[in-house]
Symmetry: C2
Subunit: 112 residues, 2 copies
DNA sequence: CTACTTGTCAACCGATTGGTTGACAGATTG
DNA sequence: CAATCTGTCAACCAATCGGTTGACAAGTAG
């Protein structure tokens, strides 16, 4: 089962999200399941490289792979992102107050 | 002048957040500015290591450092996290629907 | 002046990343 | 059967990561 501590999970999730190729893969999977070769095509990289990226995403729990006849279907599993979002959200009050201060500043000088 | 592209920014932010020591540093800074040595103490690491982590956070725009007399004050700058949260949030509808489907599934078969 | 504190810089280290190529296994098709 | 398409595995590579130690500059205190 799942022994990963919350910290380990967050490490994996944020690490998975820290690469733009992987973020792009998630974007593509958000519009529906896809095969590995299909995902590789627009990235100008070998299928191997994409396969490794998919493993990183899978280890982070962000996708699932299912053998569908001859091809491998990858499906988005966005739920673990909730953990990341939740972690980030605790800073919301902090950054809102900063944005407010910036807004005040901008307003003060008139907008240009 | 180099204006980091959104992708570069997100790379840096997510990478900064992908390490638990750095996340802990942000947590500590959320309760107020602190000095480097002060931040290093509870982590059982050298000041040098913490200093490097702080540089990663600073490059991601998540903290600012200010020379205050003899010591270096680090302050949280949470606003860039909004970018990360915003990126993640686009998957919210997706994972909500998955949770719904999972609930249906569990309900359907009773518990196994 | 010397001594100490604070933090960075520089070099080094092993482990990990992100990519490559090549071999290969499984399923489909000729 | 052979050929092809699928994707993974294994080895390799340069670059980066996360930590160390040691030297050192700047500021403070005796």
């Amino acid at each position: 089962m799942k022994t990963a501590e919350p910290d380990d999970r967050l490490d994996g999730i944020f690490h998975a999200l820290s690469n733009r190729t992987r973020r792009a893969l998630l974007d593509e999977l958000a519009s529906g399941p896809a095969r590995v070769t299909e995902l590789a095509r627009p990235h100008g990289m070998s299928v191997n490289a994409i396969s490794k990226h998919l493993f990183v995403l899978e280890n982070a729990g962000l996708i699932r792979r299912e053998k569908e006849g001859t091809v491998q279907l990858c499906k988005l599993n966005a739920e673990p992102m909730a953990n990341a979002e939740e972690w980030i959200r605790r800073y919301k009050a902090f950054w809102n107050s900063q944005i407010d201060r910036l807004a005040d500043f901008v307003e003060e000088r008139g907008e240009d």
